[in-house]
């Protein structure tokens, strides 16, 4: 690990230099106050002053739909056209943690080449962030990352401290060595320490994350689940925006006017109605409550046994996304008894016809 310093004004020169090496992805403004990772040609579009993108950066490595095989009856040809050299710039610690979780998942037992190839060719250039009211990464201990990046930029106003996390990261620095300074003055270090302290204080939300695995178990039959089920819109949004969700479906689509089929992979969400349906009509999780419970137990409890850590990285996306306030915060607050009705109180309202 090496830390170097870069003046803020050097950023665009740096991006200019590295963008020649690979496709550059970075956060850009999407809606009124929302952001998305996009391929960037014009650096002025990059908006580093963002909290979270709508979709996590896993979409860059595993697109919502990509082709796995081009197949005829006699030959199945793997298709890796979604894999290319990419640089993802501006990614926050929570999302880097999300990728680390995905790394474990996709390597467990049987390796998934479609993810791993894509991941190998992607360079991760992290960027520091400032929490808003939905950020829970301090609770999930993912507000600081020690691995999972090639470079990490901590924004200290007029300069950046840049952590070099890999040889590939170091190679990027060496492309334009003049932009960086090896010497970091004591006042710079002071500035950094102050920034960390200030940021730690800026978190306004927390959850009892450590207790969650046990609470999932202890409150498995709690009536709160049924209530959540009543409120859940079953729209799949919480799942689609989660940095650690990875479920998919496979679709075989013949090509019109050609002899072959494209066998593609597309995202799926366990919160959707048909997720656990099998041929013949049986659906193992017809109830919304059962699907929600699966999502939360899988993420917060089951992951620990298989991959050593729960899968929530505290990014706050489910909080910002769910229109009916079913999210990690409200579920956690309900289960630990801090606020049993935290998730939603609309259903109890009188309905006048």
């Amino acid at each position: 690990m090496k830390i170097v310093k870069m003046k803020r004004e050097n950023l665009s020169s740096f991006l200019e230099a590295i963008s020649r090496e690979a496709e550059l992805w970075a956060p850009v403004k999407k809606g009124v106050d929302t952001h998305a990772f996009q391929v960037v040609k014009d650096f002025s579009e990059i908006d580093l002053n963002y909290t979270r993108t709508i979709l996590p950066p896993r979409k860059i490595l595993v697109p919502s739909r990509f082709n796995m095989f081009q197949a005829t009856k006699t030959e199945y040809t793997p298709d890796f056209s979604h894999v290319s050299n990419k640089i993802i710039f501006g990614i926050h610690p929570c999302d880097i943690s999300g990728l680390l979780t995905m790394d474990k998942f996709y390597s467990y037992a049987i390796e998934d080449p479609y993810y791993l190839e894509s991941r190998k060719k992607a360079m991760i250039l992290g960027h520091s962030c400032w929490p808003d009211e939905h950020c829970l990464c301090k609770s999930t201990n993912t507000h600081i990352v020690e691995e999972g990046y090639d470079l990490f930029f901590t924004d200290l106003k007029d300069f950046y401290l840049v952590w070099i996390g890999s040889t590939q990261g170091d190679d990027l620095i060496r492309l334009v060595p003049d932009l960086f300074e090896g010497e970091i003055a004591d006042q710079d270090i002071q500035r950094f320490m102050q920034w960390r302290e200030d940021r730690d204080k800026a978190y306004s939300s927390e959850i009892n994350f450590v207790a969650m695995a046990d609470l999932m178990e202890l409150r498995y039959n709690d009536p709160v689940w049924a209530k959540l089920g009543e409120a859940c819109l079953a729209c799949g949004s919480c799942t689609n925006v989660c940095p650690t969700c990875n479920c998919y479906n496979v679709e075989d689509r013949p090509v019109l006017g050609a002899e072959h089929s494209n066998i593609s992979r597309c995202w799926d969400a366990c919160t959707l109605e048909n997720y656990s349906g099998v041929a013949g009509g049986e659906n193992f999780r017809e109830k919304r409550a059962d699907r929600l419970k699966l999502w939360y137990t899988h993420k917060l409890q089951a992951y620990i046994s298989k991959y050593g850590k729960p899968a929530c990285v505290g990014c706050g996306r489910c909080i910002a996304t769910c229109p009916v306030d079913i999210n990690i915060k409200t579920v956690s607050d309900s289960l630990d008894g801090a606020n049993p009705d935290a998730f939603w109180n609309r259903l109890s309202q009188e309905v006048t016809k």
Binding site: K30, G31, V32, D33, T34, A36, T53, I54, L55, S64, E230, A231, C232, L233, A234, C235, G236, S237, N240, V241, N249, E251, R253, P254, V255, L256, G257, S261, W267, A269, L272, E273, N274, R288, A320, T321, P323, V324, R346, L347, Q349, V351, T352, K353
Partner: protein, 261 residues
């Protein structure tokens, strides 16, 4: 076109805007492949030499709105191995199927007066499954191009796609749109079957529900949510009923049942 190995297809239009049939003609770049892949026996909008014989697949667009259409539809069913409800009107009856029988009779009278039609008698608009068994549903107003091409290419292979219904919110998230519901705009995305590619929210316009109700949609919850955001009950109900056709009645029954619990 009398290649016996090709699937015999018929495309029929009952009452509707003809948008689903037009959608096929809107597959400009794929059109010649479509006509080559199958034996299109009947397609009034596109050709004159139409034959009413036995079919492998019949795509039926539009709602059943006249007595004559009931007879035509039953005849199509008899002649076809697979009947597909093609588009919103055929799947749920379309916007015209939203009236109750009484409202419809009243409104018909207001528009056409006491004139008795001589060519056929109008009937209360209904989806085609009100009269015949339907093998496959392709909703949409109109059906999506991808949705149709996917269905079509699969059918040509002898395997209609597995239906995997999801709400508009799914694609809307893929497209990384601002959630309009969270902005307080009455968007029907969570209630509506996907297939359009979330086209309205992509343009900052709320989903109007034109693919019809999504399977497993939680009407009750959205209703409460909109109520909380300040919309009045009548307005919410109307908005929800606009595109759900005759299925709205059932849809709403569910809701009432939940209410009474």
């Amino acid at each position: 076109m009398s290649d016996n190995n090709k699937l015999k297809i018929g495309i029929y239009e009952l009452t509707g805007c003809a948008g689903d049939a037009l959608l096929i003609l809107d597959c400009e770049m794929e059109l010649l492949d479509i006509f080559n892949a199958v034996d299109i026996q009947s397609f009034l909008m596109a050709k004159s030499d139409n034959i009413d014989g036995d079919l492998d697949v019949a795509l039926v667009e539009g709602s059943v709105s006249t007595e004559r259409e009931i007879e035509e539809l039953k005849d199509i069913r008899k002649r076809s191995s697979i009947v597909v409800a093609f588009g919103l009107c055929a799947t749920v009856g379309g916007i015209q199927a939203r009236f109750s029988e009484e409202e419809w009779t009243q409104n018909l009278k207001e528009v056409y007066g006491d004139t008795e039609m001589t060519h056929t008698k109008a009937v209360h608009s209904k989806p085609i499954d009100a009269y015949i068994n339907v093998d496959f549903y392709l909703p949409g107003c109109p059906v999506g191009k991808d949705q149709f091409l996917n269905f079509f290419t699969r059918v040509v292979q002898g395997a209609p796609p597995e239906s995997y219904p999801v709400p508009v919110c799914v694609t809307c998230k893929y497209n990384e749109n601002d959630c309009l519901l969270n902005k307080g705009i009455p968007c029907l995305g969570p209630l509506t079957a996907d297939g359009c590619g979330s086209v309205c929210p992509n343009h900052d316009v709320p989903c109007y529900g034109c693919w019809g109700p999504a399977e497993g949609a939680n009407l009750t919850s959205e209703y409460h949510l909109l109520q909380e955001k300040g919309f009045d009950i009548e307005a919410i109900k109307k908005r929800m009923s606009n595109y759900s056709g005759s299925k709205f009645q059932e849809f709403f029954e569910q809701f009432k049942n939940k209410e009474s619990k």
